[in-house]
Amino acid sequence: MTEEEAFEFVKNTLKEERITPYHKNEIEIVHSVEGCINCGLCINHCPVVAAVGVDRFTGPRSIAVELSRSPPEFWSTADKIYLCTGCGTCREVCPKNVNVPEVVNLVRARIFEHRPDLVPKGLHMVREIIVEHNLAFEPWEDPEEKVESRDVRLERLDIPYTEDIIKKNAEVLFYPGCQAEERAQEVREAAKVVLNYFDVDYTLLDDMSCCGLPSALMGDDETSQRLAGLLKEKVAGLGVKKVVTTCAGCTSNISDISLQDQWSIPVYHMVEYLAEEVGLDRLKQALGSSKEFSEVTVTVHDPCHLIRHTSRRTMQDAIEILKVISGVKVAISEAEDSCCGGGGLVAYHSKDVADSVVQENLISIDKTGAERLVAPCPLCTAQIEANLFKSGSSVEVDDLMVFIAQRLPKK
């Protein structure tokens, strides 16, 4: 038997045993598990454990020391592994840098490949939409209705509509993400208003497509990689020098894929772009003297994909931006290890878990005494807004871009 034949033989044996060999870029993740000292610090901080207990969700330690160590039996973890919101708290507190969120994705990918029957039905439905439309949300059937919905939102929020700009060789690609493209359209429009105000040379995609994060989270690596490749092509075709997005998940995912696929251009969340490229002085000039709005106490929600998957500096930027807005007082929430519950696609199949996770946040928001909550992520905004409404809270919720766009002087 030649070496090649032997390799093929082993590969087929593995297939029969339902084992997928680790890819090159997964090896480091797998090795990180070896560092686990089984201390259990992650359990103290996991927001899902805090919400539903270790009996329902066995927690990150269990994922590291038990669930990740038997590839042929990955399928047996299906009742636990899909409950992880991927918030990244465990990785952050881990003294040995065990990359549990990526281990979760790796296990989910194996289950998806070998036992798709165990993948929650809600995720299969999302997958169908992604495969068909290249978007994480089903597009509006009637484009006119989409426009109507957008206009109603903009009118209610008093945000002007500006025409989409699509051109080659702009400085910046503004990538709104699926949620702002199809659902929270006001975020997309608000970001355009902000970019226009500060004379940023930007373009949108002529045909919006998902960055691939939802597919990666459900374990559909093939679709995830296809979408990442598609986006790379579009970005390269446009000839932009920077990518700016308003979605926390897109920020971390595009930062990641741009590095892996060597896009060679920086990726920013909008708050980073405003703080670093536009500058607090210009923001203060624009937002610091308006008398149009009454004074308001605002608290912020920290999206996991920004603080734990990208950098906590993003939220320092967000707070600095809020502080320069006239009449805005910032009250910091003491929610530690918080998560909106909307991550990891948990809400698509275990809404009770997602809603339990967000409860910790609601208590802390209430304690701040703030009248309004802002979040630099449309997904977190929607999840928290829905739960605050259900709880009968009077706190209003806005995406940060909407909050800023409303307060910019009309040009």
Partner: protein
Amino acid sequence: MAGLAAGTIAAENGLETLMLRTGQSATAYSSGAIDIIGYPPEGLALKEYLPDTEVPFKTPSDGLRAILTLFPFHPYGIIGFGADDDKVVESVIAHVKESISWLKERLAGSCAALIGGFERNIYPITVLGTTKPTCLIQETMWSETLNANPDNVLIFAGFRGHAEFNALSTTRAYLENQLRTGKPPHKVGHCVLEISPFGKPYNISSIELARHFDHDGSMVDLAAAIKKHVDQLGATHVAIPPVLGIEQALQNKAELQKELGVEVFELVALPPSVPGFRLQRAMDRTFKNAGGTLLIGHQARSAIFKNDMIESVVAQSPRREVTISPKTVILASGKFIGGGLEADENGIRETVLDLMPVTTNLHPAEEVRPVYHTNVFSLSPDGHAVLGAGLAVDMDFRPIDADGVERAKNLFCAGSILAKYNYSLEKSGLGVALSTGLAAGRNAARMAKEVS
């Protein structure tokens, strides 16, 4: 602890202070008690050199005097290096005393409020039924009268399904110890309570119980569950694992005592414990209230040195890199758990700035195989010498190289990254961290002011 103490004192001195941290510090692993010194550094074998000193040390003062006599290069000794020869001991004692007062003052009213003092070591009971010498414990762990009366009756109360504490085995171990020493209480019982945060009597973790007891009204059920056992045994004291709450533990203790009419206190737990979690949280708040900025999720990776000074520090988050240009830097990256030191078959390394580590005997450790610095018995009164490895420093807590020259004039270090201190053996962990943290923080603040 060392970083937070150093950062807080620097911020209190009016400096703009930024703390970089990956996630939680080793403080979160601790029992939540502040040990100053319990045993001599090189194990019980050294008792022959200290015939007049009772081991474990009865008071921190006894311990410090013994250490400074036998081990002048212990981090406690370095605190006194600037003093006149005949005043070294007194200056170290004064500094440690002041550090304790400083910490107690900062944490008063917090979820980790402390009790105890420099006058004597106290011996709280652990979840294993043993006792350990320490200086400060959280108020929830304090029992005023447990050992005062031979007729006292103690109950260890556990929770069904809580695998981290077994009330029966703790009772047995504790009773055995009491019989051996003849100290009260002599009557000890145990009970298992049916309290379940999520409705199932299995797979319950300490943190779940603590979070559950933070909710209003949770003490009513707990008091009712304990009361029948208290009445049955005629108990005067109730010991429970440290799960009385994260934010509400002290109030819960008071409420339970009121409802039951007996003294209730928490035991000292193994790491990572809920009291350690409380202490970390309270210290973080102290630092922020002093005006410090905490940047979690960023790991310092390297620094740029220029003209004997650190010009900038490079830190990495999951998907960003930041460069900070401070006037002074305090390295409090911990030992093997904190990640400040790494060891493998090739030797021991300092992970952030590639400084020269030394063994507990102050020899260069870069090519030392850790296995030769461990004891054949994992649990030995002589401990493991490898845990005494770390950085050698000058009298200002600046790390030095093999020639005794400081690596950078504006670089200081504190806590368990320091060499010649074996905290698990000495029972001196958070005490050294606190004392050296404050000393290094003050030195760094003074230098930052001089530079500007």
